[in-house]
Amino acid sequence: MGAPPALEFRDVHITYRMREGDIPAVRGVSLSLPAGSSLGIAGESGSGKSTLIFAVLRLQPKSARVTGKVLVDGEDVMAMSFNRLRALRWAGASIVFQGALHGLNPIQRVGAQIAEPISVHEPKLGRTEVGRRVGELLEQVGLAVARGRAYPHQLSGGQRQRVMIAMALACRPRIVVADEPTTALDLMVQAQVLTVLTDLVDQLGLTLVLISHDLPVLANTCRQAAVMYAGRVVETGPSAEVFERAAHPYSRALAAAFPRIGDPRFRYAPAGLPGDPPFPADVVQGCPFAPRCPVARPDCVTRDISLEQIAPGRLVACRYPLVGSAEPRPHAAPAAASTGEGA
């Protein structure tokens, strides 16, 4: 039948073993991504998104215990031999880390850092050939080739992020995971970086996973979306659907936090969500979102919840999912149809 999905998580649990006790960061996540598609994972800090995708390359710290399966092209990453893992790292799947100053070695030129994985995975290539490849990559992300000689602190935030993208593509991986690539960048630069990323993904036919707490960004760049809360997936579906007609109260609150200019529904202050996500160590009975949920009912706290299908391709972990788009505000003008354009 079909080829195995490019990336698949099967009931993955990741728990940090700390001095004070076990902290479950990821609690039973199952996701599947066919080759060539794109998935956006959204959620607040601490929802477990980064922990989850670090597992794709087995990068979790030694104190973390992983159960379940993380499959790349059908192979279990956790069970792989170290040599196989090394071959997978960067050449099979790569990660675009946040390009803040600490993502790059401060005392090494950026060109050398882009060249490094090439030398590791294709040791037979000569220096000139590697240099040529680096130049190509820099041009692809819109940087001058001469920029390769710069040190990280000599580049702007947007330039550093583009270096991270170039670096992630250096070994021509099939899967690219981008971890908050636009956080810490201002809006104009965000747009530039996202364009670079999406263009390259289209050109090269990559499978993309994009992580962000910024829903409009996800809606714009990815076909599918998954929303995570407290280590669990609470909603999945086509990204436009998840953003526009969020079924889970949390997704709706997340979407509402990003007002769109011109949409009269957001004319008044956007509704933020009071409170904080639960401490991962607090074992929660019932729905973990219930304490903060604006539409919670008494049995939400007592009965456990799991992902249920409410429509083809739409899964929600809520007993009383919302339907339709966000309610128009009482004083709003007649709602104009929103077109789902993001930032």
Binding site: L88, N105, P106, H153
Partner: protein, 324 residues
């Protein structure tokens, strides 16, 4: 003029400024402290009355004139040491080689071994090597260096119980051995073993502790995860990325410390009767031989300043962020 050159010049200028301060400070230190200056100069010594009179005349000149005389000759090239009755500068020149040999060898050994221990302890944090080496280095750090020297001397120099004394108990060479022959050099090395070992253990502790702390700090950085994600082996990540970043503060510390290792040298040279500046200081202390002490103090301060300048320049060479 590039930013690097500007930084270098600024370092040197700053060092020269500090040099000047130290020279002036040195002068006033001995003049303004309480006590009879003549008494200080002649305490315990049998000084002929003409010399006392000359000293008295000298000391009652106006301060400005004394200062200028001092400035012309801060290292006392012509002033005689009260104890030896020879120019102070001559004495210093005689002894400085031995100290440099001792301190230099010990520093190199301590730097290499200490850094290696620190790196290994940090990379394998919490495991047995780390626990043992941290306990050992903390204990070495708490040890007075001369005490360690005395223990080594008793155990390996004099011999204790059934263990015979294998190393000489003092001095730099055995009398009668031809200094310039190969045997002469080997003789010196044989004499060096105990004092160098003592100093090495003393310096090593601090280097190891600092290197360990610095690398542990560095290990939390994101770019190391990135390096691992690229498929690099753990030890390559350590060697190529973590250590070069973490070693910067250690290198600076080693050079800064060079200026301060004098204290260890003084006491250890005393214990082993090593004929260097340290022993000279000890002898000047016993006098007290003020002229000698003053000149040695100045020289030690110069050494610290020079070491500081070198540390600054070296940091600029190694860390591109500093240059801009």
């Amino acid at each position: 003029m590039g930013p690097g050159t500007r930084y270098a010049l600024r370092s040197i200028a700053s060092g020269l400024g500090t040099l000047l301060f130290v020279v002036v400070f040195n002068f006033f230190l001995f003049r303004l402290l309480p006590g009879d200056p003549i008494g200080l100069y002649t305490r315990g010594r049998n000084v002929p009355p003409e010399q006392i009179a000359a000293l008295r005349a000298e000391l009652y000149k106006p301060i400005a004139e004394q200062f200028l005389t001092y400035l012309a000759n801060p290292l006392a090239t012509t002033i005689n040491s009260a104890r030896y009755n020879r120019p102070v500068w001559e004495l210093i020149c005689e002894r400085i080689g031995a100290t440099l040999l001792l301190v230099g060898t010990a520093t190199v050994l301590a730097a290499v071994i200490g850094t290696w221990i620190g790196i290994r302890a940090a990379w394998k944090r919490g495991q047995r090597f780390d626990k043992v080496s941290t306990a050992v280095t903390l204990t070495l750090y708490a040890m007075p260096e001369f005490w360690l020297g005395m223990l080594l001397l008793i155990t390996f120099g004099v011999g204790i119980g059934v263990l015979p004394g294998m190393f000489p108990i003092g001095g730099i060479r055995t009398p009668g051995v031809d200094a310039s022959s190969l045997a002469g050099w080997l003789d010196i090395v044989w004499h060096m073993v105990l004092p160098v070992t003592t100093l090495m253990f003393t310096y090593l502790a601090e280097y190891a502790l600092v290197m360990r702390a610095s690398l542990i700090d560095e290990m939390g950085q994101d770019y190391l995860t990135v390096a691992r994600a690229k498929g690099l082996l753990d030890r390559t990540v350590r060697r190529r990325h973590a250590v070069p970043n973490a070693i910067l503060p250690t290198i600076t510390l080693i050079f800064l410390n060079l200026g301060f290792v004098v204290s260890g040298a003084i006491t250890v040279e005393t214990v082993f009767s090593w004929p260097g500046l340290g022993l000279l200081s000890y002898e000047a202390l016993r006098g007290p031989d003020i002229a000698l002490l003053q000149a040695i103090f100045l020289l030690f301060s110069f050494g610290v300043i020079v070491a500081n300048i070198i540390a600054d320049l070296l940091y600029a060479v190694l860390d591109p962020r500093v240059r801009s």
